[in-house]
Symmetry: C2
Subunit: 210 residues, 2 copies
DNA sequence: GTCTATATACGGATAGAC
DNA sequence: GTCTATCCGTATATAGAC
């Protein structure tokens, strides 16, 4: 009987092994602090193979960055542009999907935000997120809500900052928060699951606050 | 007439010039991505002087890190341990002081959180924030509020995450948020000043939400 | 495709003149 | 105290054997 293929219990190609290792190390340490030797070791391969497959540290990094950005924005984009869901449902889905993603890949936000800061235009320029956001189904609903008086008249970017902050910040601040609260990683994760229900509730009350 | 001494229009000692430059560069790029040559250039001095005054990149970094941590926690600590202010007033002061600090030193949070992740125990271990937080005037008031039913029964760390997330996240996500919202730095800062009034209002409604 | 050995570049640090 | 020149370790990348 053939080996079960559930998750990358690595019987992967060398190329894949290197990329997966690179993702882990780059996410943890960022570009500058990462040594190609660390990636090779993590992948269980020889250092020379890294250059054989990916030419250079920069090129390998570019691939990881591009995929990480995609994972990050895909979640937002698909939820925010669904014409069939209510604004409140969008909040629920956004928070829930995001927390699920971050429970598996907790290092993505700090990684992206750190690297983007060094290079905002180059990394975000071509994605033109601005258009994507301004013309989203979400924005139409938000503006309609403000006009009809159901939503307090606050700039939509405040709202964006709020939902993102409530959802993403705990993962960015994880080490410090665990220290402050005297929590284990286990307890932290339980708390994040609780937040999937709490944040939408809070955000709804905020939307109406005057 | 002597030169006005408003702000470090640098007629500072060489030692000070180096430290200020180091703060700027380390905050922007983190330890690994910073080259001592960058610091020397920023300070307008010779590279050799950096080692003359501070012995090594590591030692210089340790000084900057220690001062940054102090600035970061001092704000929290002084507000949260004031026995004379109400819980609601504490929120107002915390948010207001923090946003004022971050408008001047916007790179502190991402810097601290990135570096702390690499080295949580060494950097936070001796500060024992846990005790400080658990026995704070704030915590007593929070627990009292929950017992009397004025505050919804949610774990205080959720509350901590909320206030920090709402306040700090916009600064961490600044480049991405400006891009998404099509905002200038000027507009961003105006928005942060608005949040000094908005966040306390929002947080109060959240505290009661069930 | 994968390894060992090595070339090359870069960055932190110091020696020594002034 | 401050500079120029240089040393030396470390990290990326490649050459060449297998």
């Amino acid at each position: 009987m053939r080996q079960n293929k559930r998750l990358p219990v690595p019987d992967l190609s060398t190329e894949e092994k290197i990329k997966n290792a690179a993702r882990i190390i780059f996410h943890q340490k960022g570009f500058a602090a990462t040594r190609t030797r660390d990636i090779a070791e993590e992948a269980g391969i020889n250092l020379a193979l890294l250059n054989y497959y990916y030419r250079s540290k920069e090129k390998l990094f570019a691939i990881i960055m591009q995929e990480s950005l995609a994972a990050f924005f895909q979640t937002v984009s698909s939820v925010m542009n669904d014409e069939t869901t209510s604004l409140e449902k969008k909040i629920e889905l956004f928070v829930s999907n995001y927390i699920d993603l971050l429970l598996v890949e907790p290092d993505i936000p700090l990684f992206l935000l750190s690297e983007v800061r060094s290079n905002p235009d180059e990394l975000l320029g071509k994605l033109n997120i601005r258009e994507l956001f301004q013309h989203s189904a979400f924005m139409k609903q938000y503006r309609a809500g403000v006009e009809s008086g159901k939503i307090a008249p606050v700039h939509p970017m405040h709202f964006m900052m709020n939902v993102m902050g409530l959802t993403v910040f705990p993962f960015i601040g994880n080490p410090m928060l665990k220290m402050v609260g005297g929590m284990s990683q286990q307890q932290f994760e339980t708390m994040m699951k609780e937040r999937k229900a709490l944040i939408p509730k809070w955000v709804k009350t905020m939307l109406k606050a005057r």
